[in-house]
């Protein structure tokens, strides 16, 4: 089983996030970068699928599109246990939107051998949650998204992937055959922390850098200028207001209901 995990570096969840005034893209320079949280679950799931599949030919490869700095996140994914990594790194990619990113990643995946592509179901910076579906569409493979559980059955040649797809009401059971794209939600597992041995080993694992030319990506198909969506303006969120304290002197419930009604929450 050959698995590729798409990993995105995002601004630290704990940091204040900003858009760069010049081009309205996320300011990635001034904050610490971390692995997008849901991608850690994707890495963990890929490692578990690999471990239960066994066999020397089972591998997990990390694929990251992002600036130079994203190497830190790639190293972390490798120290968790991934075997190799591919970094799609090219200034021309800066400012790409979701549609273009899915194109670029699909092209990069074309340079690799894989049965499964695993992703987190959304990123904490963009929160669009569309990439896994776009990618499956571009690759023309089974689309198994929002998985809270993944089971891989069968052996060489005919492998079936069955997932529990989280829905608002509960879950759907969906099945598809490989090759497939899976996206995972955080209920799926508990990502491991790298061990020191893993950290040391990560240094020696293969990390390949691809330019857009290496991946066969048309320069006109990616980047800010060619994006099909644009941020036309933005304002900072207003500071949180003080809030209202309701003291319960026998009619707290009614006061809460009034508050909710006044704000049109109910």
């Amino acid at each position: 089983m050959k698995i590729v995990v798409c990993v995105k570096q995002v601004p630290d969840t704990w940091a204040e996030k900003r858009l760069a005034p010049a081009d309205s893209t996320v300011d990635r320079e001034s904050v610490d970068g971390v692995i997008n949280e849901l991608d850690e679950y994707a890495i963990e799931e890929a490692l578990r699928i690999k471990e239960s599949a066994g066999g020397a030919d089972s591998t997990v490869t990390v694929l990251t599109m992002g600036p130079e700095k994203a190497t830190e996140s790639i190293r972390k994914a490798l120290s968790m246990g991934a075997d190799a990594a591919v970094h799609l790194l090219d200034d021309a990619l800066h400012g790409s939107d979701a549609l273009q990113t899915s194109y670029a990643l699909a092209q990069a995946l074309g340079t690799l051998e894989w049965d499964l592509v695993v992703l987190g179901s959304e990123s904490t910076d963009a929160r669009m949650s569309v990439l896994p579906a776009m990618l499956a569409e571009r690759l023309g493979v089974s689309q198994l998204t929002f998985a809270r559980k993944v089971e891989v059955a069968g052996s060489n040649g005919s492998t079936t992937v069955r997932i529990e797809r989280l829905t608002e009401a509960g879950y759907d059971v969906i099945e598809g055959s490989t090759p497939a794209v899976i996206s995972v939600v955080e209920k799926i597992n508990e990502p491991r922390y790298p061990s020191f041995k893993g950290i040391m080993a990560a240094k020696k694992k293969p990390l390949t850098t691809l330019t857009i030319a290496d991946a066969g990506i048309e320069s006109g198909g990616v980047g800010l200028a060619a994006a099909s969506t644009a941020v036309t303006g933005f304002t900072e969120a207003p500071p949180r207001s003080a809030g209202t304290i309701v003291n319960d002197e026998g009619e707290g419930g009614r006061k809460l209901a009034e508050f909710l009604a006044a704000k049109k929450f109910v």
Partner: protein, 386 residues
């Protein structure tokens, strides 16, 4: 000249920082209140390989070094001292004597289990009659029918009574030297063991979830082969373990001192008084700035001591200075952070209240501040009366 961390040390530090923030910090108020040993957290630390950090891979270790251990301890202590001391005592005191002084058979028998964190070791030097005067050991051991028979007691022993404690190494008087002084040797006691009893956990001011007990040995028999290191070298060997251990305790103290800064910065920005955030009052801001200076300086002191240890240079004085300074500033920072928090500073839900209670032990364990000053003075060629 370089005091920045290398790539691997930094990656380890960040990993443990994340673990401490996400897993240890939320659980800490709970086990601080109950005093229950944090088995589940210890298991997760074991999965990360923290108990094997400074040991070679051939014994199941991670192939790191003592500094890596110190970094992990510092980051854990930013969340909770009980968890940090459990690692410090398990590795620095429990497993290290075996690694440094054990023979091949002893090492390959014990180290893999200790490195994996499935078993904990403890280090029994202090006795009820006195810790600073470790040479005054009264516990005795003699060979009877080819076995060591141990009698006596030990006090304040960390990790000695958990469900996963499998080894206690102890110092005991095994005879008299030619010069008339006591011959002290170290012995490995596998536990549980007939004749060995760990008393109930002490009720402590701080380090609530760290396991600390008094130990009793009544005709406790262990094989002759359980002598650790050379006969008569037990006292000297244990003291050299404490030299290293002081760097690790300094790291723990720095973690606590830094935690006080972190909590105070966050609190002072949120808390308002007389119409402004208290952070905007110079009295508060300067107090926090001073805390940061102390934490930073103490960190440099333990980095410097660790650098000498790794380089194979003498480090006794540097380790004592780092331990002395870091433990004393940890207490100072905890007091200052409590003050910044006002009334909340003495409410147990707030981490600084716990840090305050946890800090005092740092000036006592692994050699009191007075003992550190004696060591430093001696290294300067002075002979303070003891």
């Amino acid at each position: 000249m370089d005091v920045t961390l290398g790539e691997e040390h930094e990656a380890l530090r960040r990993t443990v920082e994340e673990f401490a923030r996400e897993v240890v910090a939320p659980a800490a108020p709970g086990f601080d209140a109950t005093g229950n040993f944090p088995y589940e957290i210890v298991r997760q630390m074991a999965d990360m390989g923290l108990f094997g950090l400074p040991f070679p891979e051939c014994y199941g270790g991670m192939g790191g070094d003592y500094f890596a251990l110190c970094l992990a301890i510092e980051e854990l202590a930013r969340a909770d001292s009980s968890v940090a001391i459990t690692l410090e005592a398990g590795v620095g005191l429990g497993a290290m004597p075996l690694y440094r002084f054990g023979n091949e058979e002893q090492k390959s028998h014990w180290l893999p289990r200790l490195c994996s964190g499935t078993a904990l070791g403890a280090f029994g030097l202090t006795e009820p009659g006195g810790g600073s005067d470790a040479g005054g050991t009264r516990t005795r051991a003699e060979i009877v029918d080819g076995e060591w028979v141990i009698n006596g007691s030990k006090a304040f022993i960390t990790n000695a009574g958990t469900d996963i404690t499998e080894l206690v190494s102890v110092t005991a008087v095994t005879g008299q030297r030619a010069d008339g002084r006591k011959e002290i040797s170290a012995l490995l006691v596998p536990v549980p063991r007939a004749g060995f009893t760990a008393g109930p956990p002490y009720s402590k001011v701080g380090w609530h979830a760290s396991d600390t007990r008094e130990l009793a040995f009544e005709n406790c028999r262990v094989p002759a082969a359980n002598l650790l290191g050379e006969r008569g070298r037990g006292y000297a060997n244990f003291l050299s373990i404490l030299d290293e251990g002081r760097i690790a305790i300094a790291a723990l103290a720095v973690g606590l001192a830094q935690a006080c800064v972190d909590a105070s910065v966050a609190f002072a920005k949120e808390r308002r008084s007389m119409g402004r955030a208290i952070a905007s009052y110079q009295a508060i801001a300067f107090s926090i700035a001073d805390m940061e200076v102390r934490a930073h300086t103490a960190r440099l002191a333990y980095y410097a001591a660790a650098a000498r240890l790794l380089a194979g240079q003498p480090f006794k004085k540097e380790a004592a200075m780092a331990k002395l300074y870091a433990s004393e500033i940890a207490v100072t920072n905890a007091r200052a952070a409590t003050q910044v928090h006002g009334g909340y500073g003495v409410i147990n839900d707030y981490p600084v209240a716990r840090h305050w209670r946890d800090s005092k032990i740092l000036e006592i364990g692994e050699g009191t501040s007075e003992v550190q000053r004696i060591l430093i003075a001696r290294e300067l060629g002075l002979r303070p009366s003891v």
